[in-house]
Subunit: 350 residues, 2 copies
């Protein structure tokens, strides 16, 4: 296949939050689609999704479902991805997977498009992997700095939106929001001496609250999200020596993740140099005026990761503080996946 | 005056969010009040506030208004505090000030009750100062660790509630919340290509958003809140060498501030030792199970600072990560002020 040729595309998990966004991004970017096949769970089979002025019907996954496809984009749970991504690769499709199932596989490139797309040259399993949504935002902001001065250590605290937990996360915030409208006083001091009501996604209210646990708590008390941020950042930036310590926190925001990062380098970097590096980097927009530092609402729906609050660290000469925010459904998932697909479509077949 | 004697108490700024809380805490803790005089701006004069089963009328500040008072608690803007706190001290009252006006004055103790109450022994101006609400929460969590192993450096990111901006902050979140209820979809991608609507307290929406600027941006790009956290932490812990780097962020929570802290010590501290130190400390409750880490809603309205997510830092041996949350109106302001007043009331007159 050569650049520009129209492709037969499959989207697995097409009815999910990210799957829906993949369809939108394919359409918005004019990806050359010859055929689109949408897959989801059996209970969604038969649903019809809008695409490119027409409609596509949703099918259940099954024997032979990928036959004839050039590209398959996957956004489902790890166990399903482990089963179906290799099945798609087996019929010769290029696979772009958004799950965590293959990210740390040495034979699967883990890519943020525009940052380390060259890793796509080595794809022995026919599968490319997209990082965790929080990691993608972080890496887009940090890569230009890492290339110039090599990062030694990162201390990261996140402000992650509920859409990171998919449709159920959005619904839970929306439901709690609506329920308390007009009586937010109940949230002023809800902790007063009693247990808080439990949601389905989170065990405590997320509306009017923040929950300092994103993912499941595992090794050494860190959550799955926190370990992903450490491991995936090292793999994408290609430097196993980067030390990372992270605390991942859920906030009552619908879309877009944000984070603070305290960054130590192998040589001093001052805010002026960092600003120049970020200003000339792809996929990042620096908001230089501190008070105008970008919020998640501003990064939602736009392509670049927005960076602000660049400050020299008074506690450690040569280190920097910064703030970054990016759309977890786009740069954190669908946009990155489609950009990887665009890159693959321009590569000569091996 | 000796312990237990009933006191004539003035509260300046009695109609504000913290002032109201001071009245509540005085009542709840059975502070020995012989007389209560409530002061506020002239436009609030004549209002009647409930107190201890009765009512107190609000008066405007003016010549002689403090005559005969033993204790005056002040929660107003810095310029007003600069004018009226010394006036209260001049008539012989002990003054407990919540503003930032006197915090860094070497002749004014800056106190978190139970942490460094002994600093109240030296009060040459008759004024004691309460720290910034975020700092008070942080210091309550860190003091037991600092005493044992001396803190070298702190990297802090905050999750601060809107009540830190007083009644207008609460109102702004409540108004935006109500406005968007039932149509939170508008907040999903509000950033899409347009300017966001501006509030009165914050220049962008705070409902469904986080704003990475708390306070005004000043020296070296740090905000007033961030500088306060550094300077006040050093003064309260009595160690000018503690290096602090902070990013202060506003979140759509009504009451209670929260924060992550990455803590380096002069000697290694592991989570087990830290847990023991915190378990035996006053004013702190450790939630040892990571997944149950305390949220702001749980700390709102309760006395102790809640600490969770104690983890060894994999990026720096001997360092710790933790999460802390406390009620900014209580431990961060009113409760601390009343506890300082209780301490002063037990001290022999000099």
């Amino acid at each position: 296949m050569t650049g520009g040729e129209r492709q037969r595309v499959g989207v697995v998990g097409a009815t999910g939050l990210v799957g829906t966004e993949i369809l939108r991004v394919l359409e918005d970017r004019g990806f050359p689609v010859a055929e689109l096949r949408a897959f989801a769970s059996p209970r969604s089979a038969g649903r019809v999704l809008p695409f490119a002025g027409g409609e596509v019907e949703v099918h259940a996954l099954g024997e032979g479902c990928f036959d004839g496809l050039d590209l398959v984009m996957v956004d489902v749970d790890d166990p399903l991805a482990l089963e179906w991504a290799p099945a798609a690769a087996a019929v010769g499709a290029s696979v772009v997977d958004n799950s965590a199932a293959f990210r740390m596989d040495p034979d699967v490139p883990l890519v943020v498009a525009g940052i380390n797309s060259d890793a796509l040259d080595h794809m022995p399993k026919g599968i490319a992997s997209c990082p965790n949504c929080t990691t993608a935002v972080l890496v887009a902001a940090l890569a230009p700095l890492h290339r110039a001065a090599r990062i030694r250590r990162l201390v990261v605290s996140t402000y992650q939106s509920v859409s990171g937990a998919g449709q159920p996360g959005l619904r839970e915030l929306d439901d709690q929001w609506t329920k308390h409208a007009g009586s937010t006083g109940a949230l002023l001091r809800a902790g007063d001496g009693g247990d808080l009501p439990s949601g389905e996604v989170w065990d405590r209210p997320i509306a009017g609250n923040v929950i300092p646990v994103a993912g499941s708590v595992g090794d050494a008390g860190f959550t799955s999200e926190e370990w992903k941020m450490a491991r995936e950042t090292r793999k994408i930036l290609g430097d196993d020596d980067i030390a990372v310590t992270a605390t991942c926190v859920r906030v009552p925001v619908f879309v877009s993740h944000a984070m603070t990062a305290n960054v130590e380098f192998h040589r001093p970097v001052d805010p002026r140099e960092a600003a120049e590096l970020l200003a000339s980097a792809e996929g990042v927009t620096l908001v230089a005026d501190g008070a105008a530092a970008p919020t998640p609402l501003e990064s939602a729906g736009v392509d670049p990761v927005l960076v602000g609050r660049l400050r020299e660290d008074p506690s450690l000469p040569g280190a920097l503080n910064l703030w970054a925010t990016g759309d977890n459904l786009r740069i954190g998932a669908a946009l990155n996946a489609v950009r990887i697909a665009e890159h693959l479509s321009r590569m000569p077949h091996s």
